[in-house]
Symmetry: C2
Subunit: 456 residues, 2 copies
Amino acid sequence: MRVAKFGGTSVANAEQIRKVASIIAENEERKFVVVSAPGKREATDTKVTDLLIQLADAVLEKGHVENALRAVVSRYEEIALDLNLSADIIETIKEDLQARVAFDTSHEGKFIDQMKASGEDNNAKLIAAYFQSTGIEAQYVNPKEAGLLVSDEPGNAQVLPESYDHLFQLRERPGVIVFPGFFGYSKEGTLVTFPRGGSDITGSILAAGVKADLYENFTDVDSVFAANPKIVENPVNIKKMTYREMRELSYAGFSVFHDEALMPAFRQSIPVCIKNTNNPEARGTMIMAERACVLNPVIGIASDSEFCTLYVRKYLMHREIGFGRKLLQIIEEEGISYEHIPSGIDDTSVILKQCQLDGEKEDRIITRIREELDVDDVYVERDFSMIMMVGEGMHNTIGLSARATSALANADVNIEMINQGSSEVSLVFGIRQEDEEKAVRALYEEFFGAADDSIE
Amino acid sequence: MRVAKFGGTSVANAEQIRKVASIIAENEERKFVVVSAPGKREATDTKVTDLLIQLADAVLEKGHVENALRAVVSRYEEIALDLNLSADIIETIKEDLQARVAFDTSHEGKFIDQMKASGEDNNAKLIAAYFQSTGIEAQYVNPKEAGLLVSDEPGNAQVLPESYDHLFQLRERPGVIVFPGFFGYSKEGTLVTFPRGGSDITGSILAAGVKADLYENFTDVDSVFAANPKIVENPVNIKKMTYREMRELSYAGFSVFHDEALMPAFRQSIPVCIKNTNNPEARGTMIMAERACVLNPVIGIASDSEFCTLYVRKYLMHREIGFGRKLLQIIEEEGISYEHIPSGIDDTSVILKQCQLDGEKEDRIITRIREELDVDDVYVERDFSMIMMVGEGMHNTIGLSARATSALANADVNIEMINQGSSEVSLVFGIRQEDEEKAVRALYEEFFGAADDSIE
């Protein structure tokens, strides 16, 4: 039994939805279908979710509600006509939207959640209707009725544990279940949306609830790449990766998906497969608990920019028990989170995302460190990038850091920081931001240059 | 004007003291001479300081005081006879020791300080007498009379700032000043000894006080070596190094001298020269504020063993503001100091000297971390060594870490940790303890293999 989730571009128009239907029809294991709202049909298009936000604004600001409403409905209308669906479904959707527009606006967050979530909800109804019209036994299921309970935090819902047992019951229902992504309901019965990656989260929760054998995540790429295609030309596809690798890569700016979205599935050790709606034959990328580290100890290279270094020097620092703790205390009190803390004997650096330090906060922190910790020197340096090499096979691979540092040296990249020693699956280099692309390409060439178009 | 300090082996017997006299006679810039107590004459010999501790014990435990006293006096006697000095000096020393033996023993620490310090004090008197007998205009000066004031902490005296002005007055005195190392006097007038490296500290304070042009530290080696001679065969001599390099090297188990002993001189930017009493022509090693980083970016390779890693893993650790601080807080509350904190995304390691963790403390810390920080995993791994490469030229030397990691890889050494990024003059590798010598040799070969017998 599988859960198949389809992203916005996979359900953006009739043509895409036909592909979805054939993917479902092709394998009866695909009993659960989670759908997003219709996404962009081409680069300049507007997602339905954005149209809905405009509609919500129009209602709140007493603007042209009618026009905004029509803009949303017409997107569904176009799809329905193109799929030769009866007018009923559009009526259903129109009535649903009118009901939501009339919804109590006293709590803005809840109102906006209501509006936004309709994108997935109505698309699920439409797709269920289309499935039926093609002869697939299918039914739309609403998260409330299914018992997907979440915490009452508009835009940041967290699933409640009892949901899983409720969802397990869905296995008993006949035919294909079409389930809207992105939202659940609080115990009080109000609709609440998930944070970033909402439909991925729904699919992941559903997969865990129904104890699926596989969670298929359909997007518009054939697989996860070993490096950012914007930096490296035609990077190799990753066939298999582990959850840990996935997590470390998504953390360092890898845009596969939001790294926490898959946790419910991971916790149940349900394998996840990234597949392409437009090329379902492509093998895709399998994400699982373990993999054999054959060919390549490194599975991916990620990078992220705009880090700064807070440098602190104090004579005999290393003899002063509590110095590091006091330093982190100040940083914590300023509400700042840090990435790494490389240390010397009389100095230590704290590396953090520089967006956290506006001029005023920077001045305050530097003053506090100078006065409270009585240091000899303290300053901030900006514009560093972190390059992260990830791979289960990396730990205990003799010579790996030698290969990486040599590749960077040959590319004339100066290494400002190296962090190796805690995570078993990653190695992090701090470099000057202007060297980022050069560095990623050099490391890619070193570790994937020889590889064919895909790696295990 | 120079301060010349002579260590224990440099004043162990008449022959050595003759060398000292000719070194002083040879250059009139050498106005200030700081002497230690007579050290070992050969490997199996006992230092006078140790004889004095035996004497102090004999007094405190009502043992054979006479024998112990005779053992000390005879060492001076032998030297005096061999130097053809009149009997007066031995009388002076004998009376001095008898006075000290009769000293109030109610405060044991102060009593022992009195006894120990006599080793340097009487040797200074003897050497001054010998200088005079050879025609050198010389006088013994007692630290009390010179105004070398220190804090009243037996065995751990800290110099008081006013001392420097007092010592500056010594410049006015005629001839050579022979000054005993190792001790000063509290404001109350009691004798207090310095911590480890006591005579080096005295020389350093005197150099700062008299504003010397150079502080010559005479030992029994031609210079500082680039690596530990016990590990590397005939390591190259270091001709010039900076204070920072000196500090980082002494920290990582480099046995040149106690890294804080030279601070008073360093603070006044007085260059320090390590020279060999037995080969004064040898150029020695100059330690100064700055050096030109010619030939070699790396100046030395040090290593230290018996470190352990406290590993902590917690899902979403990197999102939890304050986690690192709470972890260090626990370590601080257990009175433990750490060396490095490499970090992953969901894990962090704290590297520390394992002697700090007896089984009981280890269990308590692990329990506290598990319970108070609610982590997914926490454990301690032991028997790591830290290899430290030091050199002012290292920072911004592209390819340096590549050379180092490659050398380790070729020696089949797995790198468990790399810490680079804060100190500009050092790069630290964590490796398995059993690989320590292999690693040091490999790095030495890579960075000094081509060098001739000495480096700038």
